[in-house]
């Protein structure tokens, strides 16, 4: 019944629109305004550009200011401070250009709307102007490029020797996390060794794997360099830690990396945001299939002392599941059991 009523309503509405349209067409024919070069609508359109400039411009400023704390994510890494500063510098530069060009773009239509008694200026070229507005953007962009390039070089430079290594492996649809253990070196892995109990395909015949341990969350110390070693097991994924301003694809067959220095512990950030439930998170930003939006892991940033303590409390893969050592040479097995 409702459907029928809605349909009748729509038909009525459409027929009213249709009649209004026909009537105004006929009126314009009678008035002869359809023969004029520019009808009365010209003024309306010119005026609407001004209205648009003020209304939408105002809306934009109001919302940008009102929501600033909402969309501006707190920063939790040292390089994040740098890239965010670049972001806001670029915002200032482009914002000025945006505002000036839009004021001109919408004021000109109002100011220079058609008048029969006026003729447009014949102004086909001015080389001086062209040179100015080629070189000025070029100079501005040079500054932006060079600052961006310096930041980029620092961020992508090789990680310091003492960086704490954490391995992140993406798969459909989660991240697995591995720590290198006491020897601070990750053991070898081979995707062909992957099984249900060894999802990361770790090669336990490699001595370095013996002390490797898994973790359900990424725990890292504040103020010390951390190196994420990133890989994927099936399709492309991408590690995205928004508060760390960190993103790097996980590519099957090609390990990638990203190092950074977290500069606020989770506890500090909780206090700062007055949100006791706050957590740093990792998401996936490279489309990877059905569960793309559910690859969540928590990062916990702690004080270095606490981090060292946490490290000693973790159980290695082999301790958690001795079956992993099955079929491996006795020597390795013994080492594993001793630990």
């Amino acid at each position: 019944m409702y459907g029928f009523l809605i349909a009748v309503g729509v038909v009525l509405l459409l027929s009213i629109v249709w009649m209004v349209y026909r009537i105004q067409t006929l009126v314009s024919v009678v008035k002869g305004s359809d023969k004029k070069i520019a009808s009365g609508s010209n003024k309306v359109n010119a005026f609407l550009f001004l209205v648009f400039l003020v209304a939408v411009g105002g809306l934009m400023f109001w919302y940008s200011i009102k929501e600033f704390d909402n969309y501006q994510l707190p920063i939790a890494s040292e390089h994040g401070v740098v890239t965010d500063r670049l972001f806001w510098i670029t915002m200032a530069v482009t914002g000025v250009i945006f505002i000036i060009t839009h004021i001109l773009l919408f004021i000109f239509p109002y100011k220079y709307q058609y008048r029969e008694d006026r003729k447009a200026s014949f102004y086909p070229e001015n080389n001086k102007l062209e040179v100015i507005w080629t070189t000025v953007p070029a100079l501005v962009l040079t500054v932006l490029v060079i600052t961006g390039w310096m930041a980029w070089s620092d961020i992508t430079a090789p990680a310091p020797e003492n960086a704490h290594v954490v391995e992140l492996m993406g798969y459909q649809f989660a991240w697995d996390i591995r720590y290198p253990g006491q020897d601070k070196v990750l053991g070898d892995n081979d995707y062909r060794l992957t099984t249900a109990i060894n999802p990361m395909g770790i090669d336990f015949t490699d001595q370095k794997s013996v002390d490797d341990f898994p973790s359900p969350k990424v725990v890292i110390p504040k103020g010390e360099p951390v190196l994420f070693k990133i890989r994927a097991r099936d399709v492309l994924h991408s590690v995205f830690a928004p508060h760390m301003r960190l993103k790097m694809d996980a590519v099957p067959g090609m390990p990638t990396r990203f190092w950074f220095v977290p500069n606020k512990t989770t506890a500090e950030m909780r206090a700062e945001l007055k949100n006791p439930d706050f957590n740093y998170e990792i998401a996936c930003t490279e489309i990877c299939g059905r569960g793309h939006n559910s690859m969540r892991r928590v990062i916990e940033v702690v004080e270095p002392a606490e981090y060292q303590k946490w490290l000693t409390e973790q159980k290695t893969f082999l301790q958690m599941n001795p079956a992993l050592a099955d079929g491996i040479e006795v020597e390795v097995k013994e080492v594993a059991e001793i630990q």
């Binding site: 890239t83 060009t101 070229e125 932006l144 694809d249 099957p252 090609m254």
Partner: protein, 628 residues
Amino acid sequence: MATASVATHDTAHDHHDHEHHDNFVTKYIFSTDHKMIGKQFLITGIFWALIGGLLSVLFRLQLGFPDMNLEWLRPLLGGWITETGQLDQTFYLALVTMHGTIMVFFVLTAGLSGTFSNFLIPLQIGARDMASGFMNMLSYWFFFVSSVIMFISLFIKTGPAGGGWVVYPPLSALEQAIPGSGLGMTLWLVAMTFFIASSLLGGINYITTVINLRTKGMSFSRLPLTIWAFFLTAVIGLLSFPVLFAAALLLVFDRSFGTSFYLSDIYIGGEALPNTGGSPVLYQHLFWFLGHPEVYIVLLPALGITSEVIATNSRKPIFGYKAMIISMLGITILSFIVWAHHMFVSGMNPFLGSIFMFLTLIIAIPSAVKVFNYLTTLWRGNLIFTPAMLFSIGLVSFFISGGLTGIFLGNSAIDIQLHDTYFVVAHFHLVMGSASFFGLVAGVYHWFPKMFGRMMDARLGYVHFWLTFVGVYMVFFPMHYIGIAGFPRRYYSWTGFEFSNMYTDLNMFVSVAAIITFAAQFIFLFNFFYSMYRGRKASSNPWRSTTLEWTTPIVPGHGNWPGEIPTVYRWPYDYSKPGAEEDFIPQTVPLSATPESNLPHEQEQVKTEMEIIKDESEALIANEAKES
């Protein structure tokens, strides 16, 4: 049919001596007439735009109203609505993928370039038709086949391709990874192959026609900017589409013949695959080698159309004609060496990232020059707001807003955070999607009288413009905030994360705006089809424009001009020339006929022009004597 032979001016003479009759099939279906082919591309493009728009409305419903019961869509979507009345997650990804594919390739490449390059090139350069009418026909029919295949893929059981419009392997190569990578992806690849063939056939034709078939006096320095844009677009397409084909072909090998171009070290579905040594990043390089120039393939024609429309309706010459051409040339060349800015965090060598950051930000310079030139063209003009003019001004606005955010994304350090977030979505939907779409619509409003001999209703055009213009900003501007907040793209839902578990209100607002904007397009559709049959009859030069197409009969027949093709004596932007009586002088008016308005350097050319005219008329008389 004698179309293919209408290549030179000499044969054009006898062409009109015999009448030829088209039947329905040769006139409307297997037509070799560039005007009909242009219209075929336009209608098909409009069809695809509706499909593409509809898909976006579907996924916007999910994003804006995640709790809504979508049971009412079951008649349309069937099993893609889950038992709880939600949109299926993989189908959501397929919707996003197909929306992108359709809009980028089928609407903004074929619908825009296909329509206007075909329709306008011969009319604006003074040619009887394209260099090869037959190839031109093939171009459309390859596109048609491609369309049919892509359309069928929407309805198959496993769903259409779902790995994003960039179809990165391994996701797109492995059926186990996502159902869309099965038959849906196969059809996607087949359809794209036909599409690429269509683009190449069209492109070769456009280039050949512009180089070879310009009428007398139509030097490159007298070409309207539309033609320059179409010409350069075709060059870009010709050089970059084959690379996409190569990428697709290798993907086909990986999918079907067990090669490992893109695959390595994969464990999926409980088994380790034998593939080793391939690189998914290789695909990304190949794809973006087309993918980035593709941005300019859709944008340049729109900019060309805008240049023409703004100059005409400002009653002013386009400011900096030469600078505009140089900018477009610059964009053309630079567009080939910036592709890896899509890959800053792909794991590619960071040093390459620095190089591509430099190159990318250079391309902002010609773009800036174009914007300033548009603004200066408006300055002290005498602006007439036809719907085409409104859409052109809208385009410039989008080009600025979307272009400026490109400066953020092109900066690799800033891109780390913004990559694959909604900031990117906002950026390219404004600068490439909406700007090109506005160019397309502006072109339709402007050249509709030439296409169908009737005018579109201007008032409906105004309503269409304002709803769409405001609508587009309401849809895409909020996405900047969402993007700065770090919301990732291609997410079915953001509630799984604390950082993105907000802005439900803003997403709802965006979805409502998207639906209204989509609905507003039906005003255009009505206007388009209604005016085609019932619109006011057009006069021969309704916008009082200078270019050649307005010297043809109101509805140009086969061969475009009855009798001789007009000769061109001046550049296409003699609007409001001081001294001239009217505020425009068509390109066909000799300089010698307008001594009152000639500039000093033009006055010098009058003498040579007189000599040429004299020589030609002598030759003509001699010819006629010979014939009789």
